[in-house]
C-alpha cells in the first residue's frame, strides 16, 4: 500500500508519519508538496501535524485554500482513505470534510502528554483491526484541540456511530470527550492524538499502529 503524506511548509510531523508507515509498518510512503494539485499514485492520504502555514490566524484556515486540499477533497469524494492527525484534523474541519470545529484547549495552554483513548467503533477503515472498547495509549500535543459542534451535529455523529475515539481523561475540554470522528462515508477520519508517536516500542507505546494496520487491511480488502 502506498501512503501519501502531505507537506505544508509548516508541517512538522510529516517525517514522523512517513517513518511510522514506512519503517514501523513496512509500507510505501511518499511526500506530497502543498502546492501540487495532484496526489499522484497514492492509496491513502495522511494530513500530518504541525502548523500548516504558521496558523497565526485560525488553525487550518489558510490550508483549506491550498492546491493540495482541492486534490484531497476530490480524492475523498472518490472514496479514498484520508487520515488527518492533529493539525490535519483541524484542516479537515476547516475544509468542510468533517463537521464541527477545534478551538483553544479549555486550559488555554498547549498540552503534550499521553492520553488514554477509548475505541468507540470498529466499523471504519481506521479501526477495523481494533477491539470495540479497546483502550489505546497515544500522545497528544496541541493548543487548539477542543472539539466543539452544535448539539444536533454531536447527536448525529453519535447516532451514526461516527465518533471513533473518546478521551478517558479529557485533556482539552472537547465536547462529549470526542478525540476523533469520521465523515458520513466513513473514509475520512480526523483525530487530535498522534498515532505516529505511538508506533515504536522505544517511544513507549505501539498502540497507534492499530490505526495504520486497519488502513492497510481495509485497502487490501477493498
Amino acid at each position: 500500500m502506498r501512503f501519501g503524506v502531505v507537506v505544508f511548509p509548516g508541517s512538522n510531523c510529516d517525517h514522523d508519519a512517513w517513518y511510522a508507515v514506512r519503517e514501523n509498518l513496512g509500507q510505501e510512503a511518499e511526500f506530497i508538496w502543498h502546492d501540487s494539485d495532484r496526489l499522484g499514485n497514492v492509496d491513502a492520504v495522511i494530513l500530518p501535524g504541525g502548523f500548516a502555514y504558521g496558523d497565526y490566524l485560525r488553525c487550518g484556515a489558510i490550508a483549506k485554500f491550498s492546491p493540495v486540499m482541492q486534490a484531497v477533497k476530490k480524492f475523498a469524494a472518490d472514496g479514498g482513505l484520508v487520515l488527518g492527525i492533529c493539525n490535519g484534523f483541524q484542516i479537515l474541519v476547516e475544509a468542510g470534510l468533517l463537521p464541527g470545529a477545534l478551538v483553544r484547549n479549555a486550559g488555554l495552554k498547549f498540552v503534550c502528554r499521553e492520553v488514554r483513548l477509548r475505541t468507540e467503533t470498529t466499523d471504519s477503515a481506521f479501526t477495523a483491526a481494533a477491539q470495540k472498547g479497546q483502550i489505546l495509549r497515544v500522545p497528544i500535543a496541541h493548543g487548539e484541540g477542543c472539539y466543539v459542534a452544535d448539539d444536533r451535529t454531536l447527536d448525529e455523529l453519535e447516532a451514526e456511530d461516527r465518533v471513533v475515539f473518546r478521551y478517558e481523561d479529557n485533556p482539552n475540554g472537547s465536547e462529549r470527550d470526542i478525540a476523533g470522528i469520521l465523515n458520513c462515508q466513513r473514509n475520512v477520519m480526523g483525530m487530535m492524538p498522534h498515532p505516529e508517536r505511538a508506533s515504536d516500542p522505544l517511544m513507549g507505546s505501539t498502540d497507534g499502529m492499530v490505526i495504520f494496520r486497519s488502513m492497510v487491511s481495509a485497502f487490501a480488502h477493498a
Partner: protein, 738 residues
Amino acid sequence: MTTITPDLIATHQLTEAEYDKIVAILGREPTYTELGIFSVMWSEHCSYKSSRLHLKKLPTRGKMVVQGPGENAGIVDIGGGYVAAFKIESHNHPSFIEPFQGAATGVGGILRDIFTMGARPIAVMDALRFGPLDDPVKGARNRRIAEGVVSGIAHYGNCFGVPTVGGECVFESCYNGNPLVNVFALGVAKKDEIFYAKAAGVGNPVIYVGAKTGKDGIHGASMASAEFTEESKQKRPNVQVGDPFLEKLLLEACLEAMHTGAIVGIQDMGAAGLTCSTCEMGSRGGTGIEIELDLVPQRETGMTAYEIMLSESQERMLLVAESGREDEVFHVFKKWGLDAVTVGRVTGDGLLRVRQHGEIVAEIPNQQLADSAPLYDRPHSQPLRRAPMEAREFTSQDLTRDLETLLASADICSKRWIWQQYDYQVRTNTIAGPGSDAAILRVKETGESLAMSLDGNARYCYLSPREGAKLIVAECCRNLAVVGADPVGATNNLNFGNPERPEIMAQLVEAVEGMAEACRFFETPITGGNVSLYNETLGEGIWPTPVVGIVGLMKTGAPVGSHFRRPGRTVMMIGGMGKCLPVRFGGTQYAKVVLKQLWGLPPALDMDYEKRVQATVRDIVRAGLAESAHDLSDGGLAVALAECSFGPELVGACVHLDEEASLPIALFHEAPSRILISTSEPGQAKLMALAYGVEATAIGATVQDRLQITNHGNTLIDSEVRTLKRTWETALERMLHA
C-alpha cells in the same frame, strides 16, 4: 551628518580608551554608522572582552571534538559518519523586559546557530531561573515572568517542530529583578556536510535571506551588556519579535540550499544582525565584504544605514554562494516563499565596506572589528558572599513533614506544569523526555542515541564558585552515567553580575577555573557556549550561575528509568551513604526550605571517587542489572527515594539506616557520588562496584505504595507514596495560581 561627541560615545557604552582605539584603527574619526557598528561588536555580549582571558582556561579539545569554540556551535563526532552540533545561549535581559518574546527569540536564535552549520535541530533544553513565585512583594511579577517565558519557549519550539526534552528550573530571590533564560539546542548533520561561517572566494556573491529588516532589536546586544535600571522598561522596543513559522521555512530552505553545493559559507543574523554576520564571516575567511544597503529587504522605508546595520530583526541569514550559481540558491528560497537577494560580494581587501544609495557609509577592516576588541583583565578580589561559615544548631520536630515540605518546594516539586506545554516528542526520537535524569534521543540515521543534561546550582556557587562549578559538572556527568551514556562534549552558559566589580569578577574567575578543572578531569571539553554578564538590577546582582550542558553517547534501547518498577527488589546505594559535616549542609535544599538559612560551603566532592561511581553505574545499567537508577541531588536521600517512587506503579521502598549523626543531615544532605538503584541482582551489582573500589550498600527493599525510612529500628519517615506524589505533582500549579 551626526557629530561624534563624548556624550554620544558614552551612550554607545564605549570608553574613551576604546574610542581612541577605534580612531587608531580607522586612522580617522568614525562616522555615526561606524560608531554604532563598533559599539555592538565591542559590546560585552559580542566581544567577551571581560571573560575571554579566562575562557581560555577551559579545555576545548577531545578525541570526539570536530569543532570547538569560535563557530556558531560546537561539533562532536557521534559515529556512523554523523556529528552533533550543540550550544547553549542566554536571553536573560530581553526575557525580563518582555518575557514571552524575549524567551521565544532566545529559542529562535540558538536554533539558527545550529542549522546554520548544516545540522537539523532535534532537541532543545532550557535552564530557567526566576524569583520566588510566592514572594509577598515580587510574587505576582515573578509569576507573570515565569508564565510568559514558558509560553514563549513553547510557542517557538512547538511551531518550529523541535522537541523541548528537558532542562531545569530554580527559584531564588536573587532572580527577582533578573530572570535567566538559557536555551540549549542540538542538531545532527552528516560529518562531511558541515557548513562554516566563512566568506571565501573573491567576487562571490553575498546573499541575504529570510525576513525583512525592520527597526526592531536595535542595540539589543548593547542592552544585554549593561545593568538594568528603573528606565529599562523603555527598552522594550529593543526586544525582537519572533516568527517560528518563518524560522521553520528558513530551516528547510537553508538545509535544501546547502544540498545544492552552491553555498560557500553561511551565518545567521543574531545579536548585532547584519554587522556581526558580515564582519565575522569576512574575518574568518580573511576577506573583505562589500554590501549595498539599498538592496537589503526592508520592512519600512527611510531606514538609516545605522538602523539597518544594527537591527536585530529575527529569522535572517547571510550566505556566500559560488559565483554563477546564485540561481540555484534563489530557486530553493523561492520554493519556500522567502526573500533571497544578492546584497554585495566578497572582496580581497579585508574591509567591511557598506554603501547606501551608492555612497560609502562605513569602511572598517574586518579583522580588527571582529577580533581586536579590547581585552580586559579586570581586577578580581574575593568572591562576594554574604553568608556565615558556621551553622546554627537545628533539630527537626517531624521528618515526614520536612520531606513533604521539600517535595512541595519550588525547586524540587514536579515541573510538569512547564514541560507539558512543550512538545517534547515531535520528530519521534524522544526515548526519555522531561523529568528524566538525562534526556535520551535516538539518532535514526546511526542507530545510536544521544543523552543530554543541563545543570546549574547557584546556591553552591554563591558559597564557593570554584567548588560549585566542579559540582555541577560532576552532577551533569552523573546524570548521563545513570542512563548508561558516556559524556563526549559540553557547552556552558556563564551568568554573572557586573564584571567591573572585583568581587563579582572573582566569582567568574573562580567558577571558570573550577569548571575547567572538572571538565578536564571528566573529559568533557567545552565546545562553545555563552557568557552573560551585567545580570544586575538597581545594583543587586544575581548569584553566580554557571550552567553546563553535557552530551553523551549510548546504544539505542529501552531506557532504564529513575522509577522503581516492582516491589521486592533490593534498593542499593552505589557510592555508599556519604558523609556531610554541618558546614557542608548550609547550601542544601533542606537548609533553604526548612531552615530558611544559608551558610558554610557546598557539599564536598572527591572527583576521583565520583568518576569511579559513574563508571560503576554505567556498567551496571549497561549490563541490565538495574531496574531503575537515579542520582541523589537536591534534597538528598529522602527526596531521591520519594522521586524513585513516583512512577505510574507507585512502588515505594522500605529503607533501614544505621546513622549516628544528625538525622536531618543523614536524610537530606546532598553529598555527590551517590546513586540509588533497584535490582534483583544485588550481589552482581556489588561485585561490579568492588571492581572500581566503590561502595555499594543494600539499604532496603521496594514495596507497594509506601515510603518508610527507619534508623536503628526507629521510624523516621512513613508515608503513602500516592500522598507524597500528589503533593509533589501539584505544588507548582498551586504556587502559580496563588
